[in-house]
Subunit: 359 residues, 4 copies
């Protein structure tokens, strides 16, 4: 068994880790931390955990576990803190010899200056950036196995990359991309704020972060890396516009991505062509499913699955690809467990085999 | 024109007053206060007010009005503060000669000791209690006209009283009553808290305040007064159980009330009998509508209307009555305007004629 | 491995069976039927099934399974048809030697006349009523093991019985009970109708079936049986009022139950007394959890768990108990699998170990 | 007073007309039709109408009005039928001398062939196309006054046009436009279907009509007309991609529109530049409000208002404009009344002065 800590237990990504780990056969949660909840039992914070059948045969999550301020020494730690605080915690965990999956943004951007520009503070641990691996198994699974520190991608980024990587790597689109995402409110976290209130969110949709969302440089970094690796880089780099929208639901994220087909293409590809391209790209992926109809976020509810639907708008010679996932699972905690499975050489889907809670 | 202040402009009941007053032909908002928003324009707090057609012919609400700390002297003031703070404000407003409709609980309970027991603090202005009139026009409209201070009833109380008053006054039920309410989350206010978050409220229902909700003594006070006035009081008083439930919606409150039919009745009344009793009771009421099918809260969405549906469960000899309304309108701000209309001798429905926003 | 049929695959309870069975280690779905979908693949009806990792080690649900009109011969069948149609199907299945868990109402009422009165048609298979076992493991698990036909209880009934059985069997309440339930709309099924539309259900609550819901005789039957078995029966039988309410959510059912404490009790029990009584009653139950705070339906989202919260209202000498569950799981398909596990002597929680999807 | 018929009373746009007309001082509903509801009273179909204060001083909507199969002869008719059926009805109404506002698509497209291609049937009344005026007051108010037949625009079209017209007419963008809309489910109508069920829509978002939504040719027709009229037409015409998304809410429509700034521009405009451009364009418009923050659909809830927010993404030299409205009001019935007001020379906002129901 592999012992696990969860750092920052009072947020939604930590709660989702607990929910998923309850059914994990190899990871055992031994330590949970949160300054604001020291001394509380897990099931006082999350009473639904009273339903956990905790015993010797299913020891993953003990509802009676007490929250502490500092983590115990464990094999693996999931860090669920806000950026900056996360990096400080990661430094300590790495020093004491834990492997770490960090769910914050602190180790996602390879370039310190880009990080400091978008997050408005000095990077707390630039030295660790070198060793951090970007935790998208679909791109970097070879590097993840054996790594010490995995930077778990952002939810908008995961959705966008899984949508666009095959097209970018195949070089079929111009480097001018629009990503329009629609997301549920759980991504805004468990800390009370006016804009997350039921009475504000219900019957409402709005765009946000129009001056630039922090997930944008992460999207650009990974798409440019993919273009370069495939020999499709352009002199000017990518021009990505990314506009997220908050919609009245708790979980789910759908990205609608638009790009012009490469002008020098002699023939416009058909829907079948791009479907086949995507199918080949994601062959054998346990969590990415290419479909031939518009996907629903609800198909992914509570699961680590992502559905991708690529098409060609012949009339405008535009490539459109839609992808969706559960922002708390494949967009956060499920992907973190997938990465942790990979770290330890377990099948990536260990503890993650479920289908969407529908209706 | 009658000049109006709104004290405590940053909450949902104040916002609802603004929305309703936009269409009022007699009241003109001249002053709005809130410590946390001093210096802001109304339409900075509530950008939807930029759509107000403000001019000489429709002067009710000026979106450019600036929030101040202290109210200007106006003919009328609506107090939208939490209890205790409300009473302190009411004292000043009354002293400076304004008529006041207080939306808080401070002047609803006639007995100071009951108030102090349920609200856990000393009453800030017991002397004013004598002059305060309970603002349920359907019961006290004669006293309201000409009053100085009107205590606007609570939302659960309004719903329950409109459901039960006819039966209690007719003496057809035993003094043993169960009130089970279902309410939207706007009643919990605009202050951010965990239990009001979209991600917590959606797909959830829970009972709350099981140790005793503060609306209970108010319900009991008014039902006992009605019973006494009708000569149907019992030696032991009423035994009322009141359990509210929070459900995933923004507006709306539905009360399902249960009581045994009076044992000494010689014949069990029919559905038609109780329907007729209620129809007679509410003849000519502009806002209370007796119906012969289960009412929907959505029928009342955004309006000051209340629907009441009384029936007899012959099998169990039980009387059941269901009523519903919009907790922010007839349960708060709409009723406040109805009371203000009454204060000034205007038709009670002035500025309140609309039907539910459906679907 | 045990081969399984699902009869009537196009409804929500069938979909929920599929979702849960994906993770079941012993049951393998071999046959699915539906007249309206003959010839379709399972993942054409439910595209989210494309995410199922179907192979030799996890063979439970094959997304490529083709819907047929008649079921294949399997060890076990789950019948997800409307009443009457269900009984006709059950007769055939039993004749061909399958064990059956029937999710309809056809074999829940022991008395044919009661059935025919409430369902308005002649019972299609009265002979089978004798052999049918009522599928509430918490009451009848000894009978279920070894049975041929299990009548899976209704969702309102399961919630109400788990709330009231301990009090009724302990004889602490008068035989005069009010059950007020709040339920999500998935219970109304997957067949399109006006009252199930998003635009009608959102921001609305209403009571329904006020003339008598079909779950009432089922509740009464089981509570009276429990009272009789405990020696607490009364000469006049139980007087149960049951009013369900539809609220704007997809899953979840919460029952608030009210009864007077038995008049002859010398001392009013405390909250601790009734909590202890319930804790003892449900010792070792894998799915019923007694709690000391108001439970949330969301705690049960997607799971087979039920939370029960009993209290005493000292002021009115009333006993109140609140229980909640997911109407599609413990209220339908999860309970069906629990019953099937029991039928085959498997641990009841096989394939059902998960905690609520929250937030 | 102007007498009014509503043809096709059982749908949501007809219900919304009734709700809005209740407060209209000049229009009196004299006739309502629907084959499926002949003989019913209005308040049997819509029980919330029992709250209407119908009398001599407010005669607009009589809840006791009886549905007929054929309309009475009235001054004005609102046609709320599906396309094709609408045109047949319009022909008769025009022949009998009524002015008509048609809420269907039948008279929106000026080119019969385009209509027949997108709607897959022969146009039932091509002769009337000549006389029909496109009912967007912000563009065609001079033509509307005095017209006989007004074609009320589609909801996606209204939102998109109000967002894009100023930029297209000013010639600041390339003729390559992406429109990504997010809409509530009421636009799908009151007829029961699986995809409109609460249990399907809640917690879900999906793109739809990817092969081409019928509002696309309408958007293109009007944008090209505006470009041409402004001397900014291009040889190749506009390349518009339009992808609508269904999100879990009842009302509201938000369009996010993307276009590259015109390449030959010497200086990239600032946010202030485009804000000023839009402000000037919509000066004195009663229902279109240019704002400097991302607008919320909820601001428009139940109202005829539209908020527009134009910005420049300097990094990508892209113009982005977001607009939103209530699809049932400015996107349908409110705009129909605005058009009817215009037809009769009344102020356009007659009966339409209200602000959004918030929260």
């Amino acid at each position: 068994m592999i012992s696990v800590s969860i750092i920052g237990i009072t947020g939604y990504t930590a709660l989702e880790l607990l929910r998923l780990l309850v059914q994990h056969p190899q990871f055992v949660v031994k330590s949970v931390t949160a300054r604001s909840a020291v001394g509380m039992r897990l099931d006082e914070i999350y009473p639904q955990l009273r339903a956990v059948a905790y015993n010797e045969t299913t020891p993953a999550v003990n509802p009676a576990l007490i929250v502490t301020e500092e983590p115990a020494r464990t094999d693996l730690a999931f860090v669920c803190l806000p950026h900056a605080a996360a990096a400080e915690s990661v430094v300590k965990l790495v020093e004491q010899g834990s492997k770490v999956v960090d769910l914050s943004a602190d180790f996602r951007l390879r370039d310190v200056k880009t990080y400091e520009k978008w997050y408005n503070h000095t990077h707390p641990a630039p030295a660790l950036l070198e060793t951090a691996v970007y935790g998208l198994c679909e791109r970097y699974r070879d590097k993840i196995q054996g790594a010490t520190l995995v930077a778990n991608p952002g939810c908008h980024v995961t959705t966008s990359l899984l949508a666009l990587l095959p097209a970018v790597q195949a070089g079929i689109i111009e480097p001018d991309i629009i990503i329009d995402t629609k997301t549920g409110v759980s991504g805004a976290g468990r800390t009370p704020k006016l804009t997350s209130l039921y009475a504000e969110v219900s019957e409402d949709v709005q765009a946000y972060s129009l001056a630039g969302h922090r997930h944008l440089p992460e999207i650009t970094q990974e798409l440019e890396a993919a273009a370069t690796a495939s020999g499709h880089e352009t002199a000017t780099g990518l021009r990505v516009t990314f506009i997220p929208h908050l919609i009245p639901m708790t979980r789910g994220l759908l990205a609608t991505c638009y790009a012009n087909l490469k002008q020098e293409m002699t023939a416009i590809p058909t829907n079948e062509d791009v479907y086949d391209l995507y199918k080949r790209y994601y062959t054998n992926e346990p969590f990415v499913h290419v479909v031939n109809q518009p996907p629903h976020t609800k198909w992914t509810y509570g699961t680590n699955h992502c559905f991708v639907y690529p098409i060609v708008d012949v009339r405008t010679k535009r490539f459109i690809v839609i992808s969706c996932l559960d922002n708390l699972v494949k967009g956060a905690s499920g992907q973190a467990i997938q990465n942790a499975n990979r770290l330890y050489g377990l099948p990536e889907s260990t503890g993650l085999a479920s289908i969407g809670v529908n209706p």
